[in-house]
């Protein structure tokens, strides 16, 4: 990957690499609370069927995953575990923060035990707002992430802005 990192990869090869990366996203499901069920519905139920998007929702461990979906309430007690598993993921890795809780604390914005936003701890690529977001919203988040990967210059990773589903501000 030395070529990729240094940005010396030919454009066409980068495109090819990106297309293959975006359609083979192994996603680690970090289900924490109510939102985990909507994530389960999006990933596990026949109605939403995420695999048609080229997303494989069943890696055995974070070490095999490209993408982690943090869905639900992150508490201060949970954060070290999230950080540890995030660090085990191989680069390039992506994070989707699903639900108001993971985005900003949600209904527990004034609670003493809830972390107000997972983005204080790990970098987030896509925010999916809602409490809970519908499974369709999560699917759109994944499609937007795939678009981002498609146009990404691997060397430039992390210089862009995060995406917000729906275009509005985070609820």
């Amino acid at each position: 990957m030395g070529l990729v990192d240094s940005g010396k990869m030919p454009k066409s090869l980068t495109k090819l690499l990106n297309i293959s990366r975006k359609y083979s996203l192994w996603v680690y499901q970090w289900g924490l609370a109510c939102c985990a069920l909507e994530m389960g519905a999006a990933f596990g139920s026949p109605r939403y069927d995420v695999m048609r998007l080229g997303v494989i929702p069943f890696p055995a461990s974070p070490r095999q995953a490209d993408l982690v979906v943090i869905s639900g309430t992150v508490t201060d007690k949970m954060v070290p575990a999230i950080l540890r598993l995030y660090e085990q993921m191989p680069d390039p890795k992506y994070v989707i923060s699903m639900g108001s809780c993971a985005n900003c604390g949600g209904p527990y914005w004034d609670s003493y035990s809830v972390t107000k936003g997972i983005d204080q701890v790990i970098p987030v690529d896509v925010y999916v707002p809602g409490c809970p977001p519908r499974p369709e919203a999560l699917l759109e988040g994944i499609v937007l992430l795939q678009e981002m990967i498609h146009n990404e210059d691997p060397a430039e990773r992390w210089k862009g802005d995060p995406i917000v589903v729906g275009g509005g501000e985070i609820s």
Binding site: R47, P107, P132
Partner: protein
């Protein structure tokens, strides 16, 4: 002659003794070679068998669990403190996220407690619609369990059926309340809206679908030999022990205790007017717990149909002031929620917000039996037992 006889007998005894000692020595040697050191197995906080973020630290001897300790608090969101700074109508937004799978059922006891304090009573139609949605919340909740427990034991198929058919129930809840999960639909003195047109007929057909799903599970899971082998006799809770640990709901009914607050409590909801049956099972093992929940789901569909047939007409809101100030006092209301008994102890000092709310959740007590139950079982049975106890993490940690 006699002495000969005695020596012969002695010989036999000596030989036996020698053989016995030799055998002991061999055993001892084998044991030394195979001796296992105690091992600590950490399950969770993020593990599919724990329904979210329960962490279990198990001390193992070989395949056997010597001691298992659940570590909670990974999902503690501080409900009891937060309710002190939310006004009464805002509290329902919070509390329906406690047991997030059967959300509607979480609001009801709190609203009933607040109504007690304000001395208002919701009109009959509102109570009946509440009961219908309560039972539909139960159906949506337990359907997930029915699929999920099979997954824990390695039968992945069932969960896809559960997710497929659960969507229909959620659709119906959504078309009344506007939310798939968190309806926030109860108001002090009634409910927010009346039923939409055509909803009753649709719901009846969905209830039929749910019953078909139950039949499917009966074939696919209950009738499955592997499932039975892994569940029967695993995690047996005798009725007395269950009561001592404060179990409630299907966990206790699966141990043969015929106790259901919907029938035995003094609830204002419509259960008393319906014709239904409390299911129990004498065995108290994991299989019984699955079986009882399956029957309860089917029973609930009949209850919903009866409610829809007998729905009284009239208003859906009692007269309540626009700004809700609850008079000073205390009140405790508990109901039979999908996971067991849930109660709210509300203390009011006559202000906009409650002074103190104590929440009794079913899963917390149901979980407290886990160390007792997991002692001495084999590692694969941990998944069976935890799945069959059926807890929701938000309901444990609050």
């Amino acid at each position: 002659m006699t002495t000969d006889h005695i020596t012969a007998e002695l010989d036999i005894n000596d030989n036996e003794q020698l053989r016995y000692i030799a055998a002991q020595a061999v055993d001892a040697r084998v044991n030394v070679e195979l001796e296992t050191e105690g091992m600590t197995l950490n399950i969770g906080p993020q593990h599919p068998a724990t329904h979210g973020t329960l962490r279990i630290v198990a001390k193992l001897d070989g395949e056997q669990v010597i001691k298992a300790e659940p570590i909670m608090g990974y999902m503690h969101r501080g409900y009891e403190k937060l309710t002190e700074v939310r006004t009464y109508p805002q509290v329902t937004t919070l509390v329906n996220r406690i047991d997030w799978v059967g959300s509607f059922a979480n609001e009801v006891p709190f609203i009933l407690a607040a109504e007690d304090l304000m001395e208002v009573e919701a009109p009959p139609r509102a109570q009946w619609i509440r009961t219908a949605l309560f039972e539909m919340g139960r159906i949506a909740n337990i359907m997930l369990f029915l699929g999920d427990m099979a997954v824990q034991l390695g039968g992945v198929t069932a969960v896809f059926y559960a997710f497929r058919d659960r969507e229909f129930v959620l659709n119906q809840i959504e078309s009344v309340t506007g939310g798939r999960f968190h309806p926030n639909f109860n108001r002090i003195g009634g409910i927010k809206d009346d039923l939409p047109a055509g909803w009753i007929a649709e719901t009846k057909s969905v209830m039929q679908k749910v019953r078909d799903f139950c039949d499917e599970m009966e074939d696919l899971v209950v009738g499955n030999e592997i499932f039975q082998l892994r569940c029967r006799g695993v995690g047996v809770i005798p009725a007395e022990v269950g009561k001592a640990y404060g179990l409630s709901g299907a966990n206790l009914r699966a141990s043969g205790v015929d106790w259901d607050l919907r029938r035995d409590g003094d609830s204002r909801l419509a259960w008393k007017d319906l014709d239904w049956k409390v299911w129990t099972h004498p065995d108290g093992d994991s299989f019984a717990r699955y079986w009882v929940r399956l029957q309860e789901t089917r029973e609930a569909t009949y209850m919903v149909e009866q409610i829809l047939d007998g729905l009284p007409t009239g208003p859906i809101m009692a007269k309540v002031p626009r700004i809700i100030k609850v008079p000073a006092g205390e009140s405790y209301v508990q109901t039979e929620n999908p996971l067991g008994v849930m109660g709210y102890y509300v203390i009011s000092k006559g202000e906009l917000t409650p002074f103190r709310v104590k929440i009794r959740t079913a899963s917390f007590s149901n979980m407290s039996i886990a160390p007792w139950l997991l002692e001495g079982v084999y590692v694969p049975d941990i998944a069976t037992i935890l799945a069959s106890l059926y807890f929701i993490l938000g309901d444990i940690d609050r």
